[in-house]
Structure formats: structure tokens, C-alpha cells
Amino acid sequence: MTVFLRSVSAEFAKILTTRMWWILAIVLFLYIALLAGGLSALFGGIATGAISSSAAGTGGGAPPAAGLPPLIYSFASSVGYVFPVLIGALATTGEFRHQTLTPTFLATPRRRGVLGAKGVSLFVVGAAYGVVALAASVGIGALVMNGFGIDPQLGDSATWALVGRSVLAMALWAMIGVGLGVLVPNQVATIVIVLAFTQFVEPLLRLASSFTEVTAGIGQFLPGAASDALVGASFFSVASAASAGAASLLWWQGGLVLLAYAAAAGIGGYFSSWKKDVT
């Protein structure tokens, strides 16, 4: 086995030998299951007339029944993407925090290879999180929609294309987490940045950017917007598309933008912290 492949399997061993990966996976599953199930029930109820639009207070903005399944399924990445970012960021910041960079670099002195191995292994872990999140959004969502008599479109190839692209998006988000972790090695600071950016800053920026055409052109390059473009559907796109003609990248462009974010953060972090003295 080459040094690089050995590094990749060492990185997998690092993730799988502490409790964080399965705790995050369980929380991710429950969170997405609750959201997909709950909103399937709400929109399903409105679409089938079981709940009146005015009672739901949505002002008639609820999506039509045919558009509902992809929307619900995309919760896996449009809402769940913070989880792969966190596991990726913890994988790098944990090395700084617990001073395990010392034994890591003693075993593998070529540091670029170690960071690359982390990116590769976290890409796979992120994809696995994507599978977990989609099991929740598709599994629970389809069950509930079926209960309301809405076709869950499970036989549709477009649905499975969305599933595949969601898994890819989650994998790329984990790599972004790795990059962010080397850019901001302080674990607490990184977690605060991840939560603040994904939960508040970016949604506000996306909303604000959709008000004018110029800013909308820039807004589509925000990581969350690029991720939604890659996946091909999201609650956010539906909501903002209703208010303005928000621009969106093609799916593969969205994927490349995410990859570029991961690479930029990783390369920046390599020079700002990873290759520095380990004391």
C-alpha cells in the first residue's frame, strides 16, 4: 500500500474510533426525519385540502403536489449540510486541540499528503452522511406523502438523480469542513463560525442578494446556493424564486463551486496553520 493510501485508512480509523461520528449521524437522521415528515404532512395536508391554506398561514405559497417530493427529499442536503461540515471541521481542529498532529506528522512527515488523505476520507464520510440524511428525507417523507395520497415519485429517475447529487453535495461539504478546520484551527471558533454562517449569515445573504439582479448573480456563488444548484431543488430556491427571479447555477457548476470552496479553504489553511511549527 502506498503512503497515501495508508494515510487515508489512518484517517478513517481516527474518525471511527471516537464517538462523534455516530452521535452526529443519529442527530442528523432524527433532525431530517422530523423535518421531512412534518413538512410532508403540512404541505400534503394543504395540497390535498386536508388543511386549508389560510389555516396554515402560508398565503397560498405552498408548492403544488407534484413539486413536493423533490423539495422534501432535498432537505437532506439543504438543511442537513451543516453535519458533514461539522464532522470535517472536527477532524482537523481535533488534531490541533488534542495535539495529535505530533504523532500524525511523526508517522507521516509529508504533511501535504496527510491533509489530502483527510480530504479524501472525509469526502467518503460526508457521502455516508448524505446516505443517512436521504434515508431520513426520502424514507420518512415518502411514507408521509403516500399517506396523504401524493405520489412520492420513487419510480422517477429524476428523484434518484437528485438523491445521487445530494450525496455528492454532502461529500463536498465535509471537504469544506476539513478546509475550514485548517483555516481556523481553534475548534470552538470553527464550530461557532459554522453554525453562525450556515444558520444565519448565509440565509440572510441569499435572501438579500435576491432583491436585485446584480446581487443575485453574486448570490448564486454563495456555498449554500451552489449546493442547492447541485442538488437541483431546495426549499430556499422555491421560496426565493417566488419573490424574485433568483439566479441559479447549473448542477455541475454548483458542484465545482463547492469543490473550489473546499480547495481554497484547504490550500489557505495549509499555509496558515498546517505547515507551521508543531509545538
Binding site: 505530533t102 506528522f105 508543531v278
Partner: protein
């Protein structure tokens, strides 16, 4: 049997801003011996060892193992085993899993992890989370990770710190055995007395400068040698010593004579017909000369 390589530091300098933590340090460490790397806290020992291991980049100079820098070693863990500070682990991981990660990275079999854990006496705690380990157990875990690749060179930073008396006795024997097998053993400490019984050579630094290097016994000759002598009749002894031209001072257990050879002092007393009750070479010279070299109580 793995053979040791010569460790060579050539003109190592490391500056942190305007402060030179290590200043133009050059020395070699030979295989088949235990070399003590001594100096007070803050002298630059840890920085020097981290430079040697490629963890810290020197401002100038090179540090090599048999002429090869650490980062260029084809199989680093099988060439050099290092134990630095005792806290380089994730507290939620077991000792076995912790070591296994680095065994995987170095291409070593998992059976070797079990072997080294048994070797350092942690076998029965292998599956316990390291967060619950005592300082002594962490030191042993650090040593286990150094031994993982069965290396010819051992670099240990303060390995005795935190060990109980039994552990100290064990590690002393262990270091001697490693050197006897032909390995290169470099052990740092801020206390000479801690390593005095197990080292052959010493390298002493203070404030980033090399102040002494050589065999342990060479420390002895660095201070003026003294002989302790006493007699039931101290006045007669004093007179005899003065007559022979030897200077002396009154010590707690007798007269401290500025002479290297007890035989010479005994001869003076015998010639003067003075009975002596005590006659021996003063033994505390090592620690004294060590402290004199590093600047007394000047440490941090």
C-alpha cells in the same frame, strides 16, 4: 536487530521573533549509548528535539539521522521512535486504537500494537479510554508509541517525569538494554540526578547554547576536585595540611581539601603521624558542576 544511526545536529538555530530559542547548536549522538540531553526548563531542549523530528522548522542548520532528515526517511517510525509530551492523544480513544492509527499510517501490523502495550505494562488497559489514564500511564503510552516501529533510534523528551519509583527503575533498565542492543538513545531531562544512573554521555545546553558535551564522568573534572578528610585531632591535621601546602576549608563532615587524589592527602597525614578517621573523594560533584554549567538557579 535494528541498528542505531548517528544523530547529527549542525549549526541549528531557531528564532521566535527576536528571541533565539536555540543558537548555533552542533553535536552528535552515537549509537550504542544512552545520551542525556540536559538543561534547565526553557533552555531549548524540546525545541531542539522537535526540530530533529521535523515538527519545527529551524531558522538555519540541519538535523539528520545517519545523514537523512526526518521528513526524508523512507520509513520514519521504523527508523526513529519518539516520545514527546505526555498529552498527544484524543481522550476519547483507547490506547489500542490510538496506537493502531499510527501503526496503520506507518504500515505496521496491529499485532505490534498489542506487543508494545504489553512491553510497557499497559496490556490490560489497552481498551480503556486514554482520558482516564494517570500521568505515569500516559508516559508509558508515549513510550509504547516510540517503540511501535522497533526503531534503531529513540528520542525521548522527559520520559521519567511523572513515573513512580518502580517505573523509574524500570525505564532506567529499559534504556540501558536498548543501548546495549546497539540503538541510539537520546533522553532529555532538566534534572541530572534523574538520568545520572542511566546515561553514558551528556549534552548540556543553557539558554539555547551548548555548554558541555562528553562522557558523564567528564562533568566531574570540570569543577575543582575535593577530598574530605577528618581526624580525632583536627588541629594536628590542619597543621599538617598547611605544612604540605594544601588549601582546605572546614566542612560539615570534616575538612574539604582542594586535591584530586585522596592518596595524596592520606600520605600527608601519615607522614605527619596524624590519625585519620575519614578519607574519601567528594561525590556530589556531578550535580554541582551541572548547576554551575547551566547557571545555578537561573532556570525558569
Amino acid at each position: 536487530m535494528p541498528t542505531g544511526a548517528v544523530i547529527e545536529f549542525s549549526n541549528i538555530t531557531k528564532r521566535f521573533g527576536a528571541v533565539a530559542a536555540v543558537n548555533d547548536l552542533s553535536f552528535t549522538v552515537e549509537p550504542g549509548k544512552v545520551t542525556g540531553f540536559l538543561g534547565p526548563n526553557g533552555a531549548g531542549k524540546t525545541t531542539t528535539l522537535r526540530i530533529l523530528l521535523g515538527l519545527v522548522a529551524p531558522t538555519s542548520g540541519t538535523a539528520t539521522f545517519g545523514g537523512i532528515r526526518y521528513r526524508d526517511l523512507p520509513q520514519p517510525l521504523a527508523t526513529v521512535g519518539a516520545a514527546l509530551e505526555a498529552a498527544s492523544f484524543h481522550p476519547g480513544r483507547s490506547a489500542f486504537n490510538h496506537l493502531n492509527i499510527y501503526a496503520i499510517a506507518a504500515g505496521l501490523p496491529s499485532s505490534r500494537v498489542t506487543e508494545v502495550l504489553n512491553l510497557v505494562g499497559l496490556g490490560e488497559y489497552a481498551n480503556r479510554r486514554v482520558g482516564g489514564y494517570s500521568l505515569g500511564m500516559r508516559q508509558r503510552l508515549g513510550l509504547a508509541s516510540a517503540l511501535l516501529g522497533d526503531p534503531g533510534v529513540l528520542v525521548l523528551d522527559e520520559p521519567i517525569n511523572g513515573l513512580d519509583p518502580e517505573g523509574i527503575k524500570w525505564i532506567r533498565g529499559f534504556l540501558r538494554a536498548m543501548a546495549a542492543e546497539g540503538r541510539t538513545v537520546l533522553v532529555s531531562s532538566h534534572l541530572l540526578s534523574e538520568v545520572q544512573q542511566s546515561v553514558d554521555d551528556v549534552v548540556i545546553i543553557a539558554k539555547g547554547h551548548l555548554v558541555h558535551r562528553g562522557p558523564l564522568s567528564s562533568l566531574d573534572s570540570d569543577v575543582a576536585p575535593q577530598v574530605i578528610v577528618d581526624s580525632p585531632d583536627r588541629d594536628a591535621l590542619s597543621a599538617a595540611l598547611s605544612a604540605a601546602g594544601l588549601s582546605f576549608a572546614l566542612g560539615r563532615t570534616g575538612l574539604l581539601v582542594a586535591a584530586g587524589d585522596p592518596g595524596q592527602v592520606g600520605h600527608v597525614a601519615f607522614s605527619a603521624g596524624v590519625e585519620i578517621s575519614v578519607l574519601h573523594r567528594q561525590k556530589s560533584g556531578l550535580e554541582d558542576s551541572f548547576l554551575a554549567l547551566v547557571g545555578g538557579g537561573d532556570s525558569l
